[in-house]
């Protein structure tokens, strides 16, 4: 599973970090840092990452099976 991030769409709410702090973090400027950009999400983080993606209120995170 991969997660594609639409950075232009992201508004920096940070609900993804709420659900998956080891996968998504937002910095002081509200910019999203996604730990597994361009690679498969490791199995031990997959559930939390999926939860984080699904909690995005602006649908900026998509799960790619």
């Amino acid at each position: 599973m991969q997660i594609s991030v639409d950075y232009a769409r992201c508004e920096g709410h940070g609900l993804c970090e709420d659900q998956a702090p080891d996968v998504f973090t937002l910095d002081d400027e509200g910019d999203l840092h996604y730990r597994f950009e361009g690679q498969d999400v490791p199995a031990e983080h997959a559930v939390a990452a999926g939860r984080g993606a699904a909690s995005c209120p602006v649908a900026a995170l998509k799960v790619v099976p």
Partner: protein, 390 residues
């Protein structure tokens, strides 16, 4: 369990291979279905929704979808793997003892565990529809209202909540003459005096006429559009008129089920349980609160409740649901994010911040009750830390 509710007695968790039915088609329902699969539930999971669209995010409906800058489908939520979607036919009845839901077309669905997430619908005022006024709740509403507003020279918004203010902002951006009519000062009931004053001033600076007065009636105008007749007799005309006066929980299908249903929503216990094998999440839920059972129809609440409700459905000893309120709005060039219990009462202190403004409110005991970030990029986890750090 609250008085009048079906008592659960000893609560038996739904086994991992049990059939779970999720009724509803928005963020709470989608989150619940995903949470079940995420925790390894192997039994069938079915999501039943009266909407014909698969689950999508509603917050963009009063923003990019309304302006037409976002393409259709852009707000769609990630696909639900291994979840059967039954779209376009709403649930019509519930038999808790038989563990059966009946759909509007007569189909029956049996379940071992049920998640009630039927959300809410727009409230309106009598005669609004006949007068040509619109409401905004779902994707189809947003597309129709957007087309109407884009072609309107004058727009009237009835209601001073966040939705009404956001639509007024979009309509103004699109060049319409905009009047917002609210019987109380806009946003004050939800966000408190301070933020209300700030955003109303921004609306007026943007050219919106804000009228604080009740609407007596809405009348269809010859040749299209709607006239709002105010309590004073003053008339305001709009090529497009939106009624945005809150929402009502979708609980009618639960009539006769024995669940504790009132005008305030489906009453649940502290674990979000509504009856044996039945949990609930999102805008349909009236959750226990010191002043009575309250609905908190916000995005993050629907997400949090859906996860807690699933825990309560499948775990023998779930943790009670704990609300972590977060609400945000974007309007008139401002972004406002609020964490903590709303409304924010009294005058806030300003917290040092690199960009934008961060405000913090305290209760009589000095404990922080709310934090607001205004035009400030700090994320929700950081704002929550400011709330806790007090």
């Amino acid at each position: 369990m609250s008085p009048g509710a079906v008592t659960t007695g000893a609560v038996t968790p739904v086994p991992p291979d049990g059939r779970v039915l999720v009724v509803g088609g928005s963020i709470a329902a989608a989150t619940a279905a995903r949470a079940l699969r995420g925790r390894g539930h192997t039994g069938p999971v079915t999501l039943v929704s009266g909407e014909r669209h698969p689950p999508y995010a509603r917050p963009p409906l009063s923003k990019g979808v309304l302006t037409g800058t976002e393409e259709p489908g852009s707000a769609q939520l990630p696909d639900l793997a291994d979840v059967e979607l039954r779209l376009g036919v709403p649930a019509a009845g519930l038999d808790v003892a038989a563990r059966r839901v009946t759909l509007a077309d007569g189909t029956t669905l049996d379940w071992d565990g049920l998640v009630v997430a039927t959300g809410a619908r727009a409230r309106t005022i009598p005669g609004a529809e006949a007068a040509g006024a619109r409401t905004l709740r779902d994707l189809d509403d947003a597309r129709e209202l957007g087309a109407l507003v884009r072609g309107a020279r004058s727009v009237v918004v009835v209601g001073g909540g966040p939705l009404g203010m956001e639509v007024a902002s979009v309509a103004r951006d699109l060049g319409a003459r905009v009047t917002l009519v609210s019987d109380v000062p806009p946003l004050r009931a939800l966000m408190g005096d301070h933020v209300s004053r700030l955003l109303v001033a921004a609306a007026e600076a943007a050219g919106v006429t804000v009228v604080t007065e009740p609407v007596r009636e809405l009348l269809a105008r010859d040749g299209g559009g709607t006239t709002a007749v105010l309590a004073s007799g003053h008339r305001v005309e709009g090529d497009a008129v939106l009624v945005a006066v809150g929402c009502r929980p979708n609980v009618e299908w639960l009539a006769g089920s024995g669940l504790d249903v009132g005008p305030g929503g489906l009453v649940v216990d502290e674990f979000l349980r509504a009856g044996p094998g039945v949990v609930a999440a999102g805008d349909v839920v009236a959750h226990p609160h010191p002043v009575g059972a309250l609905r908190t129809p916000y995005w993050s609440n629907a997400v949090d409740q859906a996860m807690a409700a699933v825990d309560a459905l499948v775990e023998a000893e779930p943790a009670p649901f704990r609300a972590r309120p977060y609400f945000w709005t974007e309007q008139f060039g401002h972004s406002v994010k609020l964490v903590g219990a709303l409304p924010d009462v009294g005058e806030p202190e300003e917290v040092a911040s690199a960009a934008g403004t961060v405000l913090r409110w305290r209760g009589p005991d000095g404990v922080p009750t709310g934090v607001a970030a205004i035009d400030c990029p700090l994320s929700v986890p950081r704002l929550r830390r400011l709330l806790a750090a007090g």
